[in-house]
């Protein structure tokens, strides 16, 4: 079969479809097509909610840092918490920007697929920073400051009590994150990178 036979067979296929293919109008009218919009906006809504959460938390931690500025360990915890929150906010803004660069309705196929891959890569890279850096710092510093503020307990007060509990936990968490990083995020990121390369090659050929 050559290309012309191929084309004429395809036209015949099209003609047969025109004669036989019908639309289930009743089903189309019944289904709530609008619900899809909510599903599509879910990840973006999550990022917008995170953005406002960071905006709310930054002044709280600045306030606590200023309140306990006389204690160096508390002040350092506060500064670290604020730095982590600012970083989180910046990552959030970056992700929201990537979402808005996607125009599902007007971009050509390759550009849209490229944007989607860039979004995925951006989200994965940000998640790596969030999971391995931001969350542990925030958890630790928030614990230190919250215990001091709410219960008046200084976690750094008794280091012999603190280290046997925290240090083993940190080591286990570190091992776990290295494993997750290698087998989850890095693998997914390299898949996205391969896709981006493939799309760019496809555009450049010819």
């Amino acid at each position: 079969m050559d290309i012309n036979e191929f084309k004429s067979a395809w036209l015949q296929h099209d003609r047969k479809l025109s004669e036989n293919l019908s639309i289930n109008e009743a089903l189309l009218k019944k289904i709530n097509l609008d619900r899809s919009r909510k599903e599509l906006n879910k990840p973006l809504s999550y990022e917008v909610a995170s953005f406002f959460l960071f905006i709310l938390l930054i002044p709280v931690f600045i306030f606590l840092s200023v309140l306990y500025r006389s204690d160096n360990s508390m002040l350092i915890s506060g500064i670290l918490a604020v730095a982590a929150l600012v970083l989180g906010l910046l990552l959030c803004i970056r992700k929201i920007r990537l979402f808005y660069q996607i125009d599902y309705y007007n971009q050509p196929v390759l550009q849209l697929q490229e944007r989607l891959a860039l979004l995925k890569s951006g989200i994965l890279s940000a998640r790596k920073i969030e999971v391995f850096f931001l969350l542990p710092i925030l958890f630790f510093t928030a614990l230190v400051l919250a215990l001091q503020h709410i219960r008046g307990i200084n976690l750094f007060g008794d280091i012999s009590f603190f280290l046997p509990i925290v240090l083993p936990g940190l080591l286990v968490a570190w091992g776990g994150t290295v494993f997750i990083n290698k087998y989850l995020y890095d693998k997914k990121l390299s898949n996205v990178e391969a896709l981006l390369k493939e799309l760019r090659n496809y555009q450049q050929e010819g």
Binding site: D14, K16, L17, L28, Y104, N106, L112, L199, G206
Partner: protein, 162 residues
């Protein structure tokens, strides 16, 4: 846009949707899943159509993008049972019983996801300029790729003959 108006657009492009679904999802269950996704995407995007490109170009873009994303997505999403969603029904015509058409789809199936789109557009007799516009590549690139697919087609049928 009213649903009636939307249904008339779907009627006009039903063959195209069917062929894209068939090319990207030969499995009937996935086929219906993709059909549903394309129709929902088209409905969602109808309000954004501003006439800057031809309606056919725009429908091709959305349908192909949805098909490619669907094709690439991992099979971890919750599939809705196929029998509940059969918007398009081909009464008394099953392309699988037509040997020539079966061969065509077999050939399309072994192409990569981007060449599949290109081949579908080419078979629909879409002009090279429009193909370039839909896919986002240059016209010369379109022409090179079509020639390459033609060679692949030749080899494919030579192998089939043997």
């Amino acid at each position: 846009m009213h649903k009636e108006e939307f249904i008339s657009i779907i009627k006009e492009y039903k063959n195209l949707i069917y062929k894209i679904c068939h090319a990207y999802c030969p499995n009937p269950a996935d086929h219906k899943d993709l059909e549903q996704e394309i129709i929902i995407q088209l409905w969602t995007s109808m309000k954004r159509y501003n006439g800057s490109v031809k309606m056919s170009t725009w429908i091709y873009r959305i349908a192909l993008n949805t098909a490619i994303s669907h094709y690439r997505a991992e099979q971890k999403r919750n599939h809705i049972p196929a029998e509940n969603f059969m918007f398009l029904q081909a009464a008394e015509y099953d392309p699988q019983t037509d040997e020539q058409i079966k061969q065509l789809y077999l050939f399309i199936e072994q192409l990569n996801y981007l060449d599949k789109a290109l081949m579908l557009l080419y078979l629909e007799e879409t002009k090279q300029k429009e193909i370039a516009e839909i896919l986002g590549i240059t016209e010369s690139n379109v022409s090179t790729k079509i020639n390459r697919i033609k060679q692949q087609l030749k080899l494919f049928f030579q192998k089939e003959m043997q």
